[in-house]
Amino acid sequence: MKLGRHSTPWALSAPAWLLFACLLLVPLGLTAVLSFNVFDHSTGVKNEFTLAHYLAVLSDEYYYGIFWRTFWISGVTTLICLAIGAPEAYVLSRMGNPWRSIFLLVVLAPLLVSVVVRAFGWSMLLGPQGLVNLALQAVGLGPVRILYTEWAVVIALVHVMLPFMVIPVWTSLQKLDAAVENAALSLSASQFTTLRRIVLPQVLPGILSGSLIVFGLSASAFAIPGLLGGRRLKMVATVVYDEYLHELNWPLGAALALILLVANLLVMLSYNRVLEGRYKKSLG
């Protein structure tokens, strides 16, 4: 460890922390203040303290409905990601190269494609004349209305979130010692028993952290419900957007956003705790 003057690291990181103080901490603080400000439809934001916005959110059934929908859509998305992502990571880890790297890349690479493009792709697939409906009609099940329903949002969210489930499960599978698995098999445990008693307990932390991150990201998703939920089907993020840009009630929007932030931080910090407890990450 190079020991400089005590102030050297602070000086080195000064551009970064100055920027983060001015453009992260200050704006968040200002937004917190804003959420307690009085709003008047004719004059706008007033510099008076009120709890009205939080009380409005906590007492209005409309917002309960929004929060409940956001909660169950995120929950269902997490469960589906779990049911698809964990087995997929396992199947991939048992493949030989080069297929293993190719398929892993195909599963993860959509992460880097803009979410607007992916949402638009799904709106084409799920629309009344889309491929999914044509296929359903061909087997005599259609036409089904999927686009602009909760299920369209769930399907697209699963597509966006699946990499976030595959990554932690894959990482914990890589740490698995194949010899233990082989030992169980050679001691005549069945394939299923080996999976349940040997593999599953070891990848559980990966599954748990994947679930928490998928849930947190789904709950704050904006573009997917905005494009696939239509004008009627709102989630918390799209309601905040409406309050800001259509109703112009910024304090109420700020209150909603902060409730979302706190809920999200609770989920993500428990994720961090899980991660830290399992693999102590050293920073050198």
Binding site: L112, G121, L131, G284
Partner: protein, 264 residues
């Protein structure tokens, strides 16, 4: 290593098709000659690509996005290198707090960041300013660069620096001639990852862009909420192609698997 059964392979095929389906459909429909979103079967046409390039809003937004991504990724890299070295090379009170602060944009929803930036920009009269939009993006993408710089800096052999110092090189020279070359793969990988994240960002940008500074993803979002025609498919296909090009570059310079899965 045991082999996958036919059931496992079929499952894998289903997941792969699920992941590729929306991207493929976008790229196929973009070549339709028709006026509606139909899958071209007999004829393929480039008319909708020409329409994108002839659409002034899309072209302006593309250049906005490009300059925004280049400048914010560059600033983020410039501030993340010294910050990353400070975090990995020094043991000081507040190091963990500083690290947590720098990584926090990863766990704060972009919607909340957008709301917060909008409030601040409206108070200081910076709404619609391109420079402030760049800085907002810098905050969002710095964690990506920082993580790769930290990983590279932890992995670099410290004794090379000590050798250079003991041979009388100044700290500046050691950084320029020894440290920087050693962490360069992390720096370039971080820059590209930051670039693509800034280029794709939509949720925060939708709050802080003005008509003059609208970025391409925001423009496409607005366009898709109002009308859906093959123009959107062509623009999306171009985005997919652009992202693929950046991915290839990222793979050559740093290794895509390392970026997507983690350090090891």
């Amino acid at each position: 290593m045991s082999k996958n059964g036919p059931l496992a392979l079929a499952f894998n095929a289903l997941v792969i098709s699920f992941m590729l389906a929306p991207l493929l459909i976008v790229c196929i429909v973009a070549f339709t000659p028709a006026n509606t979103l139909t899958i071209p079967t007999t004829e393929f046409s480039l008319r909708w690509f020409r329409a994108v390039f002839a659409h002034p809003d899309f072209v302006t937004s593309f250049w906005n996005s490009l300059w925004l991504a280049i400048s914010s990724a560059t600033i983020a890299t410039l501030i993340a290198i010294p910050a990353g070295l400070a975090i990995t090379r020094f043991d000081f009170a507040g190091r963990d707090a500083l690290n947590a602060l720098f990584l926090s944009p990863l766990i704060i929803p972009h919607l909340v960041l957008g709301v917060a930036m909008l409030r601040m920009f409206s108070l200081i009269g910076a709404t619609g300013s391109f420079q402030w939009l760049v800085l907002a993006h810098v905050v969002v993408i710095t964690p990506y660069v920082l993580r790769l710089v930290v990983a590279a800096s932890v992995g670099a052999d410290r004794s090379c620096e000590q050798a250079a110092l003991s041979l009388g090189a100044s700290h500046g020279t050691v950084f320029r001639r020894v440290t920087l070359p050693m962490i360069l793969p992390g720096v370039t990988g971080g820059w590209l990852l930051a670039f693509i994240n800034s280029f794709d960002e939509v949720t925060m940008s939708i709050f802080v862009t003005s008509p003059a500074t609208v970025t391409l993803p925001v423009r496409m979002y607005m366009y898709a909420t109002e009308s859906i025609d093959p123009l959107m498919a062509a623009a999306s296909a171009l985005m997919v192609g652009f992202t693929a090009a950046v991915m290839v570059l990222l793979d050559r310079l740093y290794g895509l698997d390392k970026i997507l899965v983690g350090e090891k």
